[in-house]
């Protein structure tokens, strides 16, 4: 893994980093349609509950295919999703990005994130932090990268956590 960088590998890194940063911004800004467009039809979106769990036999926070993602976003777009009314104001930092090119031309990535969420309700305000790491599998579709797989592991996923109403 400790290979010397080439111009080509630096270009790839820059492309993938841009993808992850852009994805982070779309999630912060609740741009549901643009975020949905980052998914390929093979989509598997997984947010485990217990670490090292099997999504088929153990409960997850989210486990969705392409249709499930659409269904989830359809609800999130509505003003009547009261857990996000008004929507959280989010700011996240994505870092520690590792990129592993695959033989099929795609890449696997590992990155960490820190999200600060601010909520305001009537007489109450609350600021929360969320932290964890993401594992992406990206592939080329024409001249763009799309997500085939995304696994998000929150550091406190199997703990007691408040409603998670925004995108991770």
């Amino acid at each position: 893994m400790n290979k010397v960088a080439t111009a080509e590998s630096m270009d790839l890194r820059s492309e993938i980093e841009n993808f992850l940063y852009r994805e982070a911004r779309l999630m912060d800004q609740h741009k549901f349609e643009e975020w949905e467009a980052l998914w390929s039809d093979r989509a598997v979106y997984w947010v485990p509950c217990a670490h090292d769990s099997d999504p088929m036999t153990e409960v997850s926070l989210i486990y969705a295919n392409r249709a499930g993602i659409s269904l989830r976003l359809g609800r999130m777009k509505s003003k009547a999703m009261y857990a996000q009314d008004p929507r959280s104001i989010c700011s996240r930092v994505v870092g520690n990005i590792e990129i592993y090119p695959r033989d099929d031309g795609g890449v696997d990535t590992y990155s960490t994130f820190n999200i600060t969420e601010f909520k305001r309700r009537a007489n109450i305000t609350r600021q929360l932090t969320w932290s964890g790491h993401s594992e992406h599998q990206l592939s080329r579709h024409g001249d763009e990268w799309l997500m085939d797989y995304k696994k998000v592991t929150l550091i406190n996923s199997d703990g007691e956590i408040p409603a998670l109403g925004f995108l991770v």
């Binding site: 926070l61 486990y63 499930g68 269904l71 509505s78 857990a83 309700r121 007489n123 703990g159 408040p162």
Partner: protein, 441 residues
């Protein structure tokens, strides 16, 4: 202002029934520290509470860490295969002795001074005992404290920290029928809670969830987006959220079983709807698997159809157990203003993995911190808590269905106080029992 006597809250002033105004409760109940501490004592320490399920500790030496009221405990199956609830507290300096959430261990060791307890509660090793000299504690004197009473029904484990009090069977009362029905819909007659759990926290009082599970009234509004999503997704929502129309007005569903146990009894409604296999999580070919296996067990296809089309129980068992659809839930009060809800998906023993995976998926689509339903409930609880700060009118009137409720036989042929779908018979049932317990009756 309320006038405390004997230093205790006067619950008959906070929960009132009167021909003039009907039934009302005071917001004070959600925001007073003294009330919360009295609840811990009278409900969670003196009464029976649900603590866990046998399938979470299937083997000798298995344990899970739990909290009873606010007290850390260990629910474990000892080397001797006996189930116990041990206080998670060293008898020397009071340190917690078990830090893991679950595991398998014969011993629990206090790291502070090295005292070791066996998983049957006994003090197995006290380090350097000679320093006690003549004051060496007697054998058994400093064992881990143990809940003196345990009650198990169909795998559901309840415990009481009081040595004496209401017998377990009497406490469980009519809730037993509904727990039985839930288990009977598994081909082997047992559920399995080993698929992990979600923990969702909210900044509000624990009783908001206690009242909410059998509040049919809120679903149409709080859960509008979830209902729309599930209706649009036939595989996840078939028979579950379809429009029931006038059936809800015609068929009685809200029942007060006594003892604080209340149900949203949807059995007849589900059967009248023609098809409803919401409990089994099965659709299409999977439906036949469940019906077929239960028919074989019961020796009657007719009975199997009657059972499965009635669906699962939808019950709140006072004070902290709730059963609905694909999961078993517990309420964990953390403090006056903070609560955690744990959701354990319930797999059906004897069903195929395909069905149980479908159940896990259906559960997590709805519940957990990122589900389609739970976050909106938590939001409402937090808004209720935020509103209780205003004392100008502290009363909540729970009069829906009060003038029309009556005694009616339920699915088990037993009479219960009953009202129509949108009645508040269930809330009144919980509060009446609460008042009785909290008043020391």
């Amino acid at each position: 202002m309320l006038t405390p006597t004997h230093g205790y809250t006067q619950y008959d002033e906070l929960i009132q029934e009167d021909p003039e105004f009907g039934f009302r409760i005071n917001h004070h109940l959600y925001k007073d520290e003294e009330v919360f501490q009295e609840e811990m004592d009278r409900i969670f320490y003196k009464g029976w509470v649900y603590i866990g399920h046998e399938t979470e500790i299937p083997n000798p030496n298995d344990f899970v860490a739990r909290v009873m009221g606010q007290r850390p405990v260990i629910l474990c199956r000892g080397e001797d295969n006996e189930i116990r609830v041990l206080e998670n507290k060293c008898r020397h300096r009071g340190n917690t002795v078990c830090q893991e959430q679950r595991g398998n261990s014969k011993f629990f060791r206090c790291a502070y001074h090295g005292w070791i307890y066996s998983n049957t509660g006994g003090l197995a090793e006290m380090t350097h005992p000679s320093a006690y000299g003549e004051r060496l504690p007697a054998e058994g004197e400093l064992d881990l404290l143990e809940a003196p009473r345990i009650g198990v029904h169909r795998g559901f484990i309840f415990a009481s920290l009081a040595a004496e009090g209401q017998p377990f069977e009497e406490y469980l009362g009519r809730a037993a029928d509904y727990i039985d029905r839930y288990c009977d819909l598994a081909p082997d007659g047992e559920i399995d809670l080993s698929a992990g759990r979600h923990g969702v926290s909210y900044e509000g009082n624990w009783k908001m969830q206690m009242e909410n599970l059998t509040d049919a009234y809120h679903a149409e509004f709080t859960h509008a987006t979830a209902l729309a999503a599930f209706a649009a997704n036939s595989s996840a929502g078939k028979g579950k959220f379809s429009d029931r129309g006038d059936l809800e007005d015609e068929i009685s569903t809200m029942r007060d079983l006594g003892g604080g146990h209340v149900v949203l009894d949807g059995f007849e409604l589900n059967r009248a709807q023609g098809e409803n296999l919401q409990f089994t999580g099965s659709t299409g070919t999977l439906t036949e698997e469940i019906v077929g296996k239960i028919a074989e067990r019961e020796g009657s296809r007719e009975k199997a159809v009657w059972l499965t089309h009635g669906g699962g129980s939808h019950i709140t068992v006072f004070p902290n157990l709730m059963i609905l659809w694909d999961a078993v839930r517990t309420i964990q009060p953390v403090s006056l203003h903070k609560t955690v809800i744990y959701y354990h998906p319930a797999q059906l023993k004897g069903a195929s993995q395909e069905i149980n995976t479908a159940r896990i998926m259906a559960h997590q689509a709805g519940f957990g911190p990122a589900g389609f339903l739970a976050p909106d409930d938590m939001e409402m609880f937090e808004r209720t808590q935020a509103g209780t700060i205003s004392d100008t009118d502290p009363w909540v009137y729970l009069n829906r269905g009060l003038s029309t409720q009556r005694l009616e036989k339920d699915d088990f042929g037993v009479e219960a106080i009953t009202s129509q779908y949108l009645g508040e018979t269930t809330q009144r049932g919980v509060w009446r029992h609460y008042k009785k317990i909290m008043s020391g009756e």
